[in-house]
C-alpha cells in the first residue's frame, strides 16, 4: 500500500482570469490531509474564487474563466482537459453560504449524490437506510430529523439545512470538503453548533473553509491563510498566525485597520 499523502490540496502558482479581469495572482497554498484550513481576507480578495477553483465549479461560467498554474488533489492534477468533473466533484464536495438543500425529502437529499454516482446499480432500501442514518449521525442531525425523513428538506431550520448539506456529501466518500462562509446565514447558536460539527469532521475529511469572521478562523481552524487583492499574503499555523503575523498587511487586517 502507498502511504497516505500528506497533502490533500496542493495549489501552486495559480492565476485565474474572469475575462480580462485577473482575480488570482500566482497563488500558492498547501493543505495537509485531514486538517482544517481557514481562508480569510476582505471582500473581493479572491478567497471564494480560489475555493471554487479546487472543484472547478468556476468553469460553469464558460471559456470566460481561464486558470493557469497547477492544482493537485491527493497528488493528482485536476486542471487537465481529461479530468472528469463529476468524479472531481464527488471527491471534492462543497458547502455554500446559504444552505441549499434540494426541494426533495430529507432522505432523498442525503441519497442524491449517492444515487447519481451509481445510477446503473439496483437500489437496495436497507442499504440506503443505512447510508442515510450514517450520514445524518455523522453530522449530528439524526436524532433531530429521524422522524421527518420524508419531509421536504427546505422546511427544516437553517441549521438543520446546513448540516444536511454536509451530510449529503458524505455517502460518496469525499476527501475534501470546501466550505464557503458556511455559517454566515446562521444565528450565533447555530453557528456554534456548525463549528462544533466542522471540528468533529476534520481528520476524516480535509476542510478548506472561507470565512469573513476572524474569530471563527481562530476557533475552528488549524491553519489560516490570508489573501489580499488576489494574492496569498501569509499562511501559517492558526495560533502563530494570529499571535505573530509575519507580514504588515496581515497584522493590519487582523487588527481591523481595513477589511
Amino acid at each position: 500500500m502507498v502511504e497516505p499523502t500528506p497533502l490533500a490540496i496542493d495549489i501552486r502558482n495559480v492565476s485565474l482570469w474572469y475575462g480580462d479581469f485577473q482575480a488570482l495572482f500566482e497563488v500558492d497554498l498547501q493543505v495537509k490531509r485531514g486538517s482544517i484550513t481557514a481562508l480569510i481576507g476582505p471582500s473581493g480578495c479572491g478567497k471564494s474564487t480560489l475555493l471554487r477553483a479546487v472543484n472547478r465549479i468556476n468553469e460553469r461560467l464558460g471559456d470566460y474563466v481561464r486558470t493557469t498554474g497547477e492544482i493537485q488533489v491527493l497528488d493528482q492534477s485536476i486542471l487537465g482537459d481529461d479530468i472528469e468533473l463529476a468524479q472531481l466533484r464527488r471527491h471534492v464536495g462543497m458547502v455554500f453560504q446559504r444552505p441549499n438543500p434540494l426541494p426533495l425529502s430529507v432522505r432523498d437529499n442525503v441519497l442524491f449524490a449517492h444515487r447519481i454516482h451509481r445510477a446503473n446499480e439496483k437500489f437496495n432500501k436497507d442499504e440506503e437506510d443505512e447510508i442515510v442514518e450514517n450520514a445524518l449521525r455523522r453530522v449530528l442531525l439524526w436524532d433531530e430529523v429521524k422522524d421527518r425523513l420524508g419531509r421536504v428538506a427546505t422546511g427544516l431550520s437553517l441549521e438543520e439545512q446546513q448540516k444536511l448539506c454536509i451530510a449529503r456529501l458524505l455517502p460518496v466518500k469525499p476527501t475534501v470538503i470546501l466550505m464557503d462562509e458556511p455559517t454566515s446565514a446562521l444565528d450565533p447558536k447555530a453557528t456554534a453548533a456548525l463549528e462544533e460539527l466542522i471540528w468533529e469532521l476534520h481528520g476524516d475529511y480535509t476542510i478548506l473553509i472561507v470565512t469573513h469572521n476572524m474569530a471563527q478562523a481562530k476557533r475552528v481552524s488549524e491553519e489560516t491563510a490570508f489573501m489580499l487583492l488576489g494574492r496569498m499574503v501569509e499562511h501559517g499555523v492558526t495560533e502563530q498566525f494570529f499571535l505573530a503575523p509575519q507580514k504588515q498587511e496581515t497584522a493590519d487586517y487582523i487588527e481591523g485597520r481595513y477589511g
Partner: protein
Amino acid sequence: MNHSDAGQAMEPLMFSATNLNAHNRRLQWLFRVLFGLMTLILVIPVGVILTVLVVRGGPAISMEFLFSHPSDGMTAGGIFPALIGTMWLVAVALIASVPVGVAAAVYLSEYAPDNWLTRGINLAIINLAGVPSIVHALFGLGAFVIFAGFGTSILAASLTLAVMTLPVVIVATRESLQAVPLAFREACWNMGATRWQTIRTVVLPNAISGILTGVILEVSRTAGETAPIMFTGAAFFFPFLPLSVFDQTMAMSMHLFVISTAVPGVPDELKYGTALTLITLVLFMNAISITFRSYLRGKKKW
C-alpha cells in the same frame, strides 16, 4: 420684523402640513383617480361582452344545442360537429407543439450559452409571436396543405396552430424554468450531477406548474383562432364528425364566423349561443390553469 414673525410662526408648526405638502397630496390623489379610471375602462369591455353574450346567447344553450348538428342551411340546430372539431384541432396542435416547445425552452434556459446564436433564437421566438395570424394561415396553406401534401385537413390546420402558439409554450416554460432558484442547480452541479440529471430531478419537477399553465394558455389561444384554420382545415359546412387527422372539420371559431357573416337568416340567438359556448370553453380552460397554478404554488416551499 417679517423675518422674526415668520420664525415664531414656524416653531409650533414643525410637523404640520405646508402648502407644498398639500399640493403634493392633491396631485397624488389626482393621479390615483386617473389611473383608477383607466383600469376601469379596461374592465368595461370584458363586462359588457360577457353580459351581452349571457343575456342574448344564454337562452340558446341546451343539451340539444350542444349535441346536435346544424340544420336547415345552418339556420337551426346545434354546434356539435364544430365543438368536436375544435377539440380535435386543439388536441393535435398540443401533441405537435408541447414536446417541441418544452424541449426548446429547456435548451434555451439550461444549456444554451449566451452568444449571438442564442440571442438570435430568442429574437426569432419573439418575432414568431408577433406574426399576424393570417400570415400563419398562408404559411400553413403553403407548407402543410400544399408542400407537405396533407390537403385541407385537421393535421394541416393543427400544425399551423402549433407553429403559431409555439412561442406561448416556449416563453411560459422558459420563465418557469428560470424561476427555479440557481442555488438548487449549483447544489446539484457541486455533487457531480450532469445538467440533465439536474434538470430531470430538480428543475423540471419544480417548473411543472408554470409549464402546465403555459400549455393551458395555449389551449385557450388555439381554441379561439380562426384565421390560421380557414385555409388549412376548417370547413364551411361539414356535417360529419372527423374520423382521422386527414379529414376536414368544422370548428367553433370558424362556425361563428360563417354563421355571422356568410349565411343569411341565422337567428341571432344561435350566433350568440355559439359565441357564448366558445368563450365559456376558453374561460373554463383559463380557470383550470389558475386553480392549478395556485394549488402547485401553495405546495412549494422555498
